[in-house]
């Protein structure tokens, strides 16, 4: 590719802005602004909010969501969506914990489960790129298949507990690097890697091209189906990695997460930060911004002791607002939109 990143669609400098045509605020900036305002208000109103301790726990609370958001964001940029991500996370990790209980070492168990996650990604990518099933349906159906298959063959109970020992594994969830919790460090590292991948590798640039206009991408010689398969392999692996950190943090894996609404929270952090659902726009930075807003909101609401229903209302209104803003800022491209796009 001879084009520089800046001239390509959805390059980091035009993230969420719809290209150089508009000079108004991007969604990323708006959300960052809202997060900043919330942050200042909480800092003034809520005693203890601004303590370093609380800020660390704020980040720790959303690091896992942010990790999943990175995988989801990457797929959405390529004009897909991975509704099977939580299933992949829960079941591959559940299998690791199950094997640990059976006496396996962590490395061996993680290797097999990692391969399982790769296999899921390949199947998802194949269904979407070659069988041409719209991603929303392919991944929705596969989520059930993954859960059913894994529950039948790999994970004996809904909730599996990490056995005693396995300190190295547990460190991933509860360790600290210079006082910062390991999940936060891992989220930051993952965001950095995803950023570099999307910005500087050929494969990363291809994802933007496919997200912006798959037909044109194909015409210009982008190996579209292969890149789509790669996208889902990456999102599945990120799901797996997040699951490992989750299990390490709480010492158990609750596979009933598959039937929860968690996957919508994951889409929320990606879309909220300004990764347009129409594809081709955004990057790792947007996920971080979305994660920060959600983290600040959840942390503040917990400190204020909002009840469950109120928290859900606030969260869903924010999602709705994000989608409305997304639609206004990133209108559907009538030339390339097709049935089945999300």
């Amino acid at each position: 590719m001879s084009a520089s990143p800046e001239t390509l669609p959805g390059g980091p400098h035009s993230a969420g802005s719809g290209g150089p045509r508009r000079k108004k605020l991007t969604q990323e900036q708006i959300v960052l602004g809202i997060a900043a305002v919330l942050f200042v208000v909480f800092a003034l109103v809520l005693p203890g909010f601004l303590s370093a301790d609380n800020l660390v726990s704020l980040l720790q609370g959303v690091a896992l969501l942010g990790m999943l958001g990175l995988g989801m964001g990457l797929v959405i940029i390529g004009r897909g969506i991975d509704l099977a991500m939580v299933a992949t996370m829960a079941m591959s990790t559940g299998w690791v914990v199950e094997r640990l209980n059976g006496g396996s070492g962590f490395g061996e168990a993680a290797l097999y489960a990692g391969l399982f996650a790769v296999a899921i990604g390949v199947v998802l990518g194949f269904l979407i790129a070659y069988v041409e099933i719209p991603p929303i349906f392919a991944t929705l159906a596969m989520a059930t298949v993954i859960y059913g298959f894994a529950r039948y063959t790999m994970v004996s109970l809904d909730v599996v507990y990490v056995p005693a020992g396995h300190e190295g594994f547990r460190w991933l969830g509860s360790g600290r690097v210079f006082g910062i919790p390991a999940p936060v460090v891992l989220f930051a590292a993952m965001a950095f890697v995803v950023h570099l991948f999307l910005r500087y590798t050929k494969a990363g640039r291809y994802i933007y091209m496919i997200g912006d206009n798959p037909q044109t991408a194909r015409t210009t010689g982008v190996p579209v189906p292969q890149v789509i398969v790669m996208q889902y392999v990456i999102s599945s692996l990120i799901g797996f990695a997040t699951g490992i950190v989750t299990a390490a943090a709480v010492g158990s894996m609750n596979t009933r997460l598959v039937t929860s609404t968690m996957v919508y929270d994951v889409i929320l952090v990606a879309v909220l930060g300004g990764i347009g659902l129409a594809g081709g726009k955004g990057g790792a930075r947007n996920v971080i911004v979305g994660t920060l807003l959600i983290g600040t909101m959840l942390n503040g609401m917990t400190i204020m002791n909002f009840d469950y229903t109120t928290q859900n209302i606030v969260k869903s209104l924010v999602l709705l607002a994000a989608i409305v803003i997304d639609t206004l800022i990133n209108p559907r491209d009538e030339q390339t939109a097709q049935q089945g796009d999300i």
Binding site: N54, Q60, G61, L157, D158, S174, G251, T302
Partner: protein, 341 residues
């Protein structure tokens, strides 16, 4: 699911081997006047079980015990697993009513959903045992915990550890499950009442974590950071509370912040007590419940009474487990239930 297949196979085998016995008299070595009629009352009967799902510890424990009696007395145990899907469960019960088993054992997801079906089953002459959570409708038997009492017990322990006279801050956080879930809602009522009665206790947070340990972890971390002098946390289900315990461990306050949990008393929970993650754990004993269910099955099959004529309940006794009282066999595993029941 693997266990389910095994059970289905076992049930099939039992049907084949015991089938003829249902018509003929069961051969027994010696009749003490009851043993023959007992054996005949049970042999060849059909007992159906609709759990919430087969995939969690409580259901596994019950079935391990139930299957053992079914095999030895030669009746069928039919399991229909709705896998957490309430409408699939309702469908399974409707289907069972048409199949007319002798007893249907129902694990209610809430107070209402299966009520009408329980009444319908009773009216059509099928005896119904409700387990773990009683619906608004009474049936022949209820076996399970008294959800209010468990939570009351937990709260009383919390008051003794953090309330007036304990010399602690008295700050307590409640971590609920899903607020609309009956067991969580009933428990939280008890928490609020008992904790509210002690002037030394201040409830600083009352948050729901959706029965999800990860969510509980996040919420508990925030509460711990916000209240550095927090005295204790009280939770509604062990599988969720491991997240709370992990948060307490994260801030290095294991043993310092009191954590009181409750649940079915599976080994994983006792492990948490031993590790110091749960200060006190109030359990109902699933192995004992399996025994109660078996007794109720035997009683109902022998009783000539009409379905629903003489309703009774067997409330499970509570075990209070802490570091001092925990023994290697305080908690149960499925294997132990299979062996001992």
């Amino acid at each position: 699911m693997r266990t389910l297949t095994k059970f289905a196979a076992a049930a099939l085998l039992a049907a084949v081997t015991v089938g003829p016995a249902a018509q003929a008299e069961v051969a027994i070595g010696y009749d003490d006047g009851m043993s023959a009629s007992y054996a005949n009352a049970l042999a060849g009967k059909k007992v159906a079980f609709v759990p919430l799902a087969m995939s969690f510890d409580i259901a596994e424990g019950w079935v391990a015990g139930m299957q053992k009696q079914a095999d030895s007395m030669g009746y069928d145990l039919i399991i229909r697993d709705p896998n957490w899907n309430t409408s699939a469960g309702a469908q399974a019960i409707t289907q069972l009513i048409a199949e007319k088993p002798d007893i249907i054992i129902i694990h209610n997801p809430d107070l209402q959903t299966y009520g009408r079906l329980i009444r319908k089953a009773t009216e059509s002459g099928i005896k119904v045992i409700q387990v773990n959570l009683k619906s608004n409708v009474n049936s022949d038997v209820y076996i399970g915990a008294d959800w209010y009492k468990i939570a009351e017990k937990q709260a009383q322990i919390m008051v003794s550890k953090c309330g007036s006279g304990s010399g602690k801050s008295g700050k307590v956080a409640i971590i609920q499950g899903i607020p609309t879930n009956a067991t969580s809602a009933i428990g939280v009522q008890a928490f609020e009442k008992v904790l509210g009665e002690d002037s030394g206790i201040e409830i600083v947070a009352n948050q729901a974590a959706d029965f999800d340990p990860t969510k509980a972890h996040t919420i508990a971390l925030t509460i711990l950071k916000q209240n550095p002098d927090l005295c204790g946390m009280i939770g509604i289900w062990d599988a969720e509370d491991v997240g709370v315990a992990a948060a307490i461990r994260d801030v290095g306050k294991t043993g310092e912040v009191v954590m009181i949990s409750q649940g079915a008393g599976a080994q994983s929970a006792c492990d948490k007590v031993i590790a110091g993650d749960f200060t006190t754990y109030v359990a109902y004993d699933v192995a004992q419940q399996a025994r109660d269910i078996n007794n109720a099955i035997a009683t109902l099959l022998q009783s000539p009474a009409e379905a629903g004529a003489q309703p009774f309940a067997l409330y499970s006794p509570l075990k209070v487990i802490d570091k001092d009282s925990v023994h290697p066999d305080t908690c149960w595993t499925t294997d132990r239930v299979k062996r001992d029941n």
